[in-house]
Structure formats: C-alpha cells, structure tokens
Amino acid sequence: MKRNLGHTIRSAHEGMTKGDFTAKDLRADYLTKIKNRNPELNAYLSVFDENTLTTKPSTLNPDAMLTGISCAIKDNMLIEGTITTAGSKILENYTAAYDATVISKLKNAGVTFLGKTNLDEFAMGSSTENSAYGPTKNPLDPTRVPGGSSGGSAAAVAGDLAVFALGSDTGGSIRQPAALCGVVGLKPSYGRVSRHGLIAMASSLDQIGPLTKNVEDAAIVLNAIAGHDKFDSTTVPHEVPDFTAGLDGDIKGLRVGVPKEYFGEGLSAEVREKVLEGIEALKNRGAEIIDISLPYSEYALAAYYIVMPCEVSANLARLDGIRYGHSTKNAENLLEVYTKSRAEGFGSEPRRRIMLGAYALSSGYYDAYYLRAQKVRALIRRDFEEAFKNVDVIVGPTSPTTAFKIGDKSSDPLSMYLADIYTVAINLAGVPAISVPCGLGKESNLPVGFQIIGKMFDEATILRAAYVLEQEIND
C-alpha cells in the first residue's frame, strides 16, 4: 500500500473547483497541522499567519492548477517583508527587501505561502542538522534526519504540512532529502529557473526546484517557475515546454542507461535492491536498459569540494557585519568588525567551507586546486555528453543509504559529504535530475530514492520516466 501523503496539487485543485472547500479552508487546515506537528518536526522556521501573509488567497481561476494551493518555501529564498535566515544566526533578523523571481511567479499563479522551512546553514549539509535553529526530524521516524539541505521542505511535504515546497539544490539538496523522506524532488537544468532572490551558496551549481507528493505536481510547479529572467542572466532564453504534456505512461523504446559506477562500494544492499527493482519495472514497461560507464564519476565529490567552497568563500564575503546581518559588539577596529562578526555569526560548516575556499583560491594554490577541479569538472561533463549519445536518461540511486539517525554523521564532515556521492556530479555537469520514491528498504523499512538524470534542458523526458516508475511502485 502506498502511503497517503494528503493533498496533491490536483486533489486540492479539484476539491476547490468542486466547492468542497475554499483556498482559505485549505490554508487554515494546513496551519492547524503545522501548529500540531511542527514543534516535534521543526520543519518550519517561520509560519505566516493571516496578518503577515503577503498574498491573499486569490479568487479561484479554474484553469490555473496552482490557484489557492498552500506551499512552503525553503528559508533561503526571499519573500518581501518577511524574515529570511538561510538557517544562520548571521541573518537572524534579516528582512527580505524584494521577492525572489520564483516567489513572484508563484504569487502570479495564485499560490499562498504557509511559511519558510528549515535548512542546513546556507544550504550546507545533507541532514539539516547544521541549521542554527536546530535539526529537522524525519516525519517517518523522528529519530532520523530528513536529509538536507532542503530537509525542512522535504519534511513539510512528507508530513503533509504543505501541498508542495520549493527547495534549492547545489549538490543534491533537493533530491537527497526527497529520497530520505519518500517524496519527489526535482533539480532542473542549470539555467532553467531563475536564482534571483535565492541566497547564493555556489552560483555555478545552485538551482531552485520543487519537492512534491507526486511527479505530476513536480511538472506543474516547474511549469510555473521556469523561464528566462532579466534579473538572472544565467537563465537561458529557451522556450519553456508544458512539462505535464509527456506524462502519458508511454516509455516504449526509451533508452535507459545504468552506470556501473553508481552501484559499487558504499551502496547499501537495501537501496541497491530497490533501485534494481525500479530498473526492472521500467524495462517491463518497454524501456531498453543499457549498461554504461561514467568513468570520471569517482572524482566528482573531490572536484565538488573544491569548486563549491571556492564559490562559497566569494559569495559569503558579503556578510561582513556592515550592511546587514549580525554585527559584533566587541570590535576595536574595522578589521575586527569583519573577523568577529563572521566568527560570531557563522556556524562551523560555513566556516569550514569558507576557509577551504579561501585556501584553494589563495596565491600559489589556485592552479593546483581550483583550476584542476574545473578541468575534472569538464571531464565529468564529457562523461554525461558521451553517455547521452546512446541513452535518453541515466538512472541509479539518489543516496547510498536510507535516512540515517540524528547525530550519526554530524561529528565527521567527510562522512556527511559522502551522502551526496551520487548527486554532486549532476550539478557539476548542469544536467537535470529527479528523485522519485521506489519503495521501502527491506532492512530499514524507510523510503529509497530512485534518481533519473536527463540531457541538458530535457526535464520533460525524466518526468516522463519518473511518472511511469511512480505507477509501478506499490509501497
């Protein structure tokens, strides 16, 4: 039996068009659920009551699927006039001065915002334990992590504290928590969705995407948030297709690549078993399964841990205690304003990554680290380009394990980094990928995520394949 996750976008939309309930009822219902369950889960950092609500639940437009739908937003995206912390003490009182482009687009679509969700500080982590506001708990087992960094968004969707949520993904931060919480998480192609108003972590890797209860919802939300934006010149001017159009259940002849590197050492037996069953299910529906190799994938995590911290150290340099955010009370001179404000404001993971980036970019080390990592990145990208000459999608596990216990990996940064071993290469290459639940692990009885990777800007095909897999999964 599939777990009932509560309202999807379609079911809520149909309930409202039939007159069973109003957008206001739906919102009130979710606010009650949040009130009851959030003290335990800590999925939300802030909840908007009617008075701070920035958009009124709009009049129902029967053609617009998102009208009146209640959603949650990861607390690193700006909603004008509300606090945006990025999970950090350094931005504890920061009020957004404008709407992120994804927020304006959702407002135009008639979405109402329930609140802002917890995350690892500045989206740095794979468990949401790095949040300065305490960890989020996995709604399926509150002794376990929800994954991260979009753990609050994943927990909100999995615990039915929102119809859907937005997250951001720099190295797996949408897909991995989606996998660990048993929901759908989509990282669009780099350049598909505007990053304007997203608090930047690593600018060449970050993408915003949906966490949803099913594949159709992911397509609906992507329809609403995708597209070129004059405020983000890295968005592409390509036409945005209707991503729901290909959800017809037909994958006959679809060429599915299975990289041997994604099934090696470190992959837990129960995840392996479920993912192989998922591949079998795609085959039974007419897909052609092709063994492939992505030879440079073993270097992806090492390259990522140079490229990402370098960009982090540049992006977080703006937090200096001068213009906004936390400022020390103990500075004797200007330099101490910087060094003490940053020491007091940043938690240990951002500090580590800023330091690592500053080191890798420093005089004498640039060629050895940054340049070399960007060359390895080119090889990783080439792997995907070569593979996609012969296959339409690439599949494998999203995460090597199911949800781990709170505290299990938090003392050793490197072991935490390994949680993203199957997801970081996708960000380095820029291609889109989706995590879709493929059943419960035999040992842990917890959800396993199945990752489907697509060609650049071909979200339509991964959604098509994910939709079929979703139909085939029964637990």
Binding site: S204, F231, S233, V236, V376, A378, L379, G430
Partner: protein
C-alpha cells in the same frame, strides 16, 4: 630542467600547519579561538586528503569548465527599467538594516588612522 609535467603545481598531502590555518583565517576574515583552530586544522586536513585523489586525473589537455549553459555575453538593452523604484520603504529595507547607521548613512569604523 624541469619537464612540463614536473613544473606544474601539484596538490600536496596534508597536514596543514597552524601558521597556514591562521593565514587562511585571516584571508577569510574569520577569527578563530585556539580550540577552533585545532579543530579546523584537523577537518581541513582530512578534507584536503580526500581531495588529493584529483592528482590521479590527467588533466593536461583539458580545458576547464566554469559554467554549464554555454551562454556567452548575456546582455540586455541599456535602458532604465525602474524595476525597484526607490521610496522610503525600500530605503528602510536596504539601508535601514545596517547594524550601525546615522540617518540614511551606514556608519563604519575609521578606515584611515589620523596621525
């Protein structure tokens, strides 16, 4: 004479020294206590040890990849769009959030020392 390959900078195995960690902390503008410095030394050394494996990849003939969309020179018409009209409210949300200010000005500690 060094061959081309030998002359290229290589990633060293770590052990970072305290001097290096202090230097990085200064570049990063983050003050560390002695305890934090020890912890940072251990963590960074372990991460850099993992990153060492990039040395195994032959990257000699590879061009680095800095971005993935292939867009070049994304430009727009040089027009005033007035997307964020400045008013008291926006001013308050921008300058108003500075921790130290005087009216509409942001205050900083002295930059040049008086003789």
């Amino acid at each position: 004479m060094l061959t081309d390959k030998e002359a290229k900078p290589r990633i060293e195995s770590h052990g970072l020294s305290s001097t290096v960690v202090q230097h990085i902390a200064k570049l990063a503008r983050i003050e560390l206590t002695p305890d934090e410095e020890d912890r940072m030394k251990r963590d960074l050394s372990s991460i850099l040890g993992y990153i060492d494996q990039l040395n195994k990849v032959d990257t000699d003939a590879v061009e680095p990849l800095y971005q993935t969309t292939g867009l070049v020179n994304a430009m727009r018409a040089d027009e005033h769009l007035n997307s964020f009209p400045m008013d008291e409210r926006l001013n308050e949300r921008l300058v108003g959030q500075a921790p130290h200010k005087s009216g509409r000005y942001i205050k900083v500690k002295e930059v040049l020392k008086a003789k």
